[in-house]
């Protein structure tokens, strides 16, 4: 463990994947770094650093945010869901199952963000149209799959009655 010089820092209390966590964080600390380096939740990934790619997407109080630009102190008092919290023990979330089943995973770097964004979408709109899914994913890039199988996987988890495009 490296030596952390303790300058000004404040205590935050948040819930991460259902578990309460109390942390001392510096004001400029990013949620992504806190998750990855201090809580060892490496599922959220760093890529573009400018809220474009979505690899760092986590849900804060159910809404997708880019953890790469979200201050940890902003998460004080909130619930954070990361990809590590999607499954219930060994029981995968239906989205996770669908991503595997439809081959929506290639390099996997976008996968966590895709899953969480889709989770938020289906919570908002259980039966989105394909176009709506594509539009909702505008903040989540994937360079491997061409999106086809990702959309298929998400649509497979939508409640019946989702419109077609």
């Amino acid at each position: 463990m490296n030596v952390i010089p303790i300058r000004s820092s404040s205590e935050i209390r948040l819930t991460v994947n259902g578990r309460p966590v109390t942390l001392e964080v510096r004001p400029e600390a990013l949620l992504l770094d806190v998750l990855r380096d201090r809580l060892q939740l490496k599922g959220a990934r760093r890529s573009c650093d400018m809220q474009v790619c979505g690899a760092c997407t986590v849900l804060v109080d159910g809404a997708p945010v880019s953890a790469c630009t979200y201050l940890a102190v902003e998460a004080d008092g909130r619930e954070v869901l990361t990809v590590e919290g999607l499954a219930d023990g060994d029981r995968l979330d239906p989205l996770q199952e669908a991503f595997i089943e439809h081959g929506a995973v290639q390099c996997g770097f976008c996968t966590a963000g895709m899953l969480l964004t889709a989770k938020a979408l289906l919570a908002e709109e259980p039966s989105p149209s394909p176009a709506r899914v594509a539009e909702y994913l505008r903040g989540n890039l994937c360079r491997c799959t061409g999106y086809r199988k990702i959309l298929d996987a998400i649509l497979a988890c939508a409640a019946p009655g989702g419109g077609t495009r």
Partner: protein, 774 residues
């Protein structure tokens, strides 16, 4: 077992072996690696495209608490700082001169990234700007400023050791190939077309940027965990730079978050290794996406083609002159230009061929390998011109292409591998998939394109298969899993040959100190080459099993077969664990199988015969917003001849991804330079395809005749699907609007301007009666 194929695991869309770890967030990539005592590195990059370094002062940075190493070029006395796979033209850190905006000048390793950034702020560098060349035109102009003034050393590829630079120019390599008599044939041709096409600089944007973690040990050895597609090349570079035997270097490769060619050959590894040496602790160097834009890109190109057709439609002659902009350092671009240019004739039978291409230095991000490896740049022009020719010859574009296709078994070029696919079948499947014969809906048009690409040759892949006492197996191969699913495919191949369930086979991750040689995870070669090595190694094990069983049963080994984890003879089943117990006289020993696939050098023009031909064809149906010039691809069909799909879902995934990446450079992507400065070196400025860009109908189809050179008649896939996209879309646009664009990407602005010009010209034509160029 599949009734259709007779295979049990091969041909099935089994779940990826890494799917679960990826959907649960527990997959580990380079940036997840933490080593005790590890320092974090940052680079100071040049703000200038071309400048002399007058002064570098790192004293204040070095004095900053928490800083473990600060390196400038003058500190690199402990290694040979020159590297590069084709030409050793690149310094580990810029020395005396910077040659592109973003070139690393100073490297720092500190307790954490914040301290490293702070240290870089304390570094002072004075530059004296030099005139820069950032376009092919500037670089090739007589008396142009030279990006490199000294002659660079050859890299580690023996087949590139005779690179032909043109002294006193910015041309670092030229490629020439010819057969027949092009000029005579063109002179005699019924139709001669001459056109020039340009292809932009494209950023790979694998979502995971480059990274490396380096650690020296006290046995004098170096370990580098690297996000690389070819660890053995990285090993060769580091061995030369640090004067180490290969056996003392360990390049270990975790899962890659995408590659696309951008992670071939040494990138950050030399800097990380040098920093770790000085810092005396592990050093992690992670690039940002902005760094990636300044690390490598696709070579842009300007390609002038002359095609000569006979009256009956036969393509009789093709001349190609291509200039590739390879940026400030050659990287693997010399090979890119020769391989890309070599297949300029595509899947067609052409008697008279003259190819010439130049690799041209400019003061921009170095150009290297990128999915397609020089072929898209050429095919963009050739396949556009096939459609122009069809128009001029009043032939159907599908029909004209069909007429000119090479036959199965026909030599592509004297000495090279005969065509291993059935090209007509691909074309037929494509026409069917894109409904070529159906009426086009109003406001839409369709276009197609075809391509044929060689894989790298000569090339070597090796494998070791270990069958354990309990009848489960480990496979040692150096295939890099970068998303393409290679590990899953290798497990399927081993499981098939060994007659084991997939779950009993596990692939060991690449590590040059452990897993046997494999040249590179690129060039669509892994299924064919590594797959064959795995097959051979597994068959070696099966041979040993049969021999043991034969001895035990007293029957000829040839009469025995393996089935469901046992050697079977009639009704007798000898499970592997029992055979191993018998063989070793105890429970414990293992059988080791070895597979070496090394076709060697041949008389083929490039020095080796391609192990297979990658064949792909594509068809687009587009609509156009004439107000904005925005093209929307409403349907796209991709057909690849893969011999056999080892994993059909993964084959489809490869081609879907390839098509979308192709749509990126067709419609959206281009790295834009102005005055030597990269204007859009981040994801805000550089737009890659999003989910909303997905064509509503995207189909991938596969030709499977079991005639591939790989295991079970499979062959490579992955690059091909990307290549026809641009000409297919442009051909559709021409058919829709009569407008022919010769510059990518087909941005709304370009299309809109072309439409406007076309309208203006049409207006003029209506007055003058002259013909419009299609």
């Amino acid at each position: 077992m599949s009734a259709r194929t007779g295979f049990r695991v091969v041909g099935q869309s089994v779940r990826r072996t890494d799917a679960l770890e990826k959907v649960t967030g527990r997959a580990r990539y380079l940036s997840d690696l933490e080593l005790p005592g590890m320092a974090h590195a940052r680079l100071l990059r040049s703000p200038h495209a071309h400048a002399r370094i007058v002064r570098v002062d790192v004293a204040r940075a070095r004095a900053l608490p928490g800083v473990h190493a600060v390196l400038a070029a003058s500190d690199l006395t402990f290694c040979d700082p020159a590297y590069g796979p084709a030409l050793r033209d690149r310094p580990l850190l810029a020395s005396e001169v910077v040659r592109y905006e973003g070139e690393p000048v100073v490297a720092v390793a500190a307790d954490d990234e914040a301290t490293a950034v702070e240290a870089l702020d304390l570094v002072e560098v004075d530059y004296e700007e030099l005139p820069a060349v950032t376009t092919l035109e500037d670089a090739l102009a007589p008396g142009a400023p030279l990006v490199h003034t000294a002659e660079p050393l050859a890299g580690h590829f023996s087949d590139l050791s005779t690179l032909r630079a043109k002294p006193g120019t910015n041309i670092c390599h030229q490629f020439d190939y010819g057969r027949g008599d092009v000029e005579a044939a063109l002179a005699a041709a019924h139709l001669v077309l001459e056109e020039t096409y340009t292809f932009p600089r494209i950023q790979h944007y694998s979502m995971e940027p480059h990274g490396a973690v380096a650690r020296w040990d006290d046995e004098g050895g170096l370990t580098v965990w690297a996000s690389t597609q070819n660890p053995f090349s990285v090993r060769a570079e580091l061995a030369a730079m640090f004067a180490l035997p290969a056996s003392r270097i360990r390049i270990a490769v975790p899962l890659l978050g995408g590659g696309f060619g951008g992670k071939t050959y040494a990138k950050l590894e030399p800097i990380a290794a040098a920093l770790a040496r000085v810092a005396r602790r592990p050093v992690r160097l992670l690039a940002s996406v902005e760094d990636a834009f300044r690390t490598v890109r696709r070579c842009s190109a300007r390609v002038t083609l002359r095609l000569g057709f006979l009256r009956d439609g036969r393509l009789d002659a093709l001349a190609c002159r291509a200039d590739f902009d390879v940026g400030a350092y050659a990287d693997i671009a010399p090979r890119v230009i020769q391989k890309g240019t070599y297949t300029a004739t595509g899947p067609y039978r052409v008697s008279h061929v003259q190819l010439h291409s130049n690799a041209v230095y400019t003061n921009t991000t170095p150009g290297g390998a990128f999915r397609g490896f020089g072929v898209p740049q050429i095919v963009w022009g050739v396949e556009s011109m096939m459609d122009i020719a069809a128009g001029r010859l009043e032939r159907d574009p599908v029909d004209l292409r069909r007429q000119n296709l090479l036959a199965h078994g026909e030599e592509f070029a004297p000495g090279d591998t005969p065509v291993d696919g059935k090209l007509e079948e691909s074309l037929g499947r494509l026409a069917e998939a894109i409904r070529w014969s159906d009426t086009v809906p109003p406001g839409r048009a369709r276009g197609i394109a075809a391509m044929m690409k060689a894989s790298v040759a000569p090339s070597v892949s090796e494998a070791i298969v270990r069958l354990h006492a309990d009848g489960s197996a480990n496979v040692l191969v150096s295939t890099v899993e970068m998303g393409q699913g290679a590990r899953t495919v290798m497990a399927q191949i081993a499981a098939e040959v060994l007659a084991l369930p997939l779950a009993r086979v596990r692939i060991v991750p690449p590590d040059t100190s452990i897993t046997p040689y494999d040249q590179t995870s690129s060039s669509s070669r892994s299924t064919t080459m590594v797959g064959r090595a795995v097959q051979e190694a597994a068959e070696d094990v099966v041979g040993q099993l049969r021999k043991i069983a034969a001895g035990k049963l007293g029957v000829a080994a040839g009469r025995l077969r393996v089935e469901d984890g046992a050697v079977v003879s009639g009704r007798t089943r000898l499970p592997y664990p029992d055979l191993l117990d018998h063989h070793f006289g105890m429970r414990g020993g293992e059988l080791i199988g070895r597979g070496v696939v090394a076709p060697g050098r041949t008389a083929a023009p490039l020095g080796g015969s391609t192990p297979f031909w990658e064949v792909a064809m594509g068809g687009a149906e587009i609509a156009l917003d004439e107000e904005t010039g925005a093209i929307s691809v409403e349907a796209y069909a991709s057909v690849s001849d893969v011999g056999r799909c080892i994993n059909p879902q993964q084959c489809a995934a490869q081609d879907e991804g390839a098509v979308m990446q192709g749509l990126g450079h067709t419609l959206l992507e281009e790295m834009v330079y102005e005055g030597g400065q990269l204007l859009n070196g981040d994801l805000v400025g550089y737009r890659v395809p999003r989910a909303g860009d997905l064509p509503p109908r995207l189909q991938t189809r596969f030709v499977e005749n079991g005639d591939g050179a790989g295991p079970f008649g499979a062959k490579g896939v992955g690059e091909g699907g990307l290549i026809p996209v641009s000409p297919a879309v442009a051909n559709a646009l021409a058919r829709l609007t009569g407008v022919r664009l010769r510059e990518l990407p087909l941005t709304p602005e370009r299309v809109w301007r072309a439409l406007r010009e076309r309208r203006q010209r049409d207006a003029t034509d209506r007055t003058t009666g002259g013909p419009g160029d299609v």
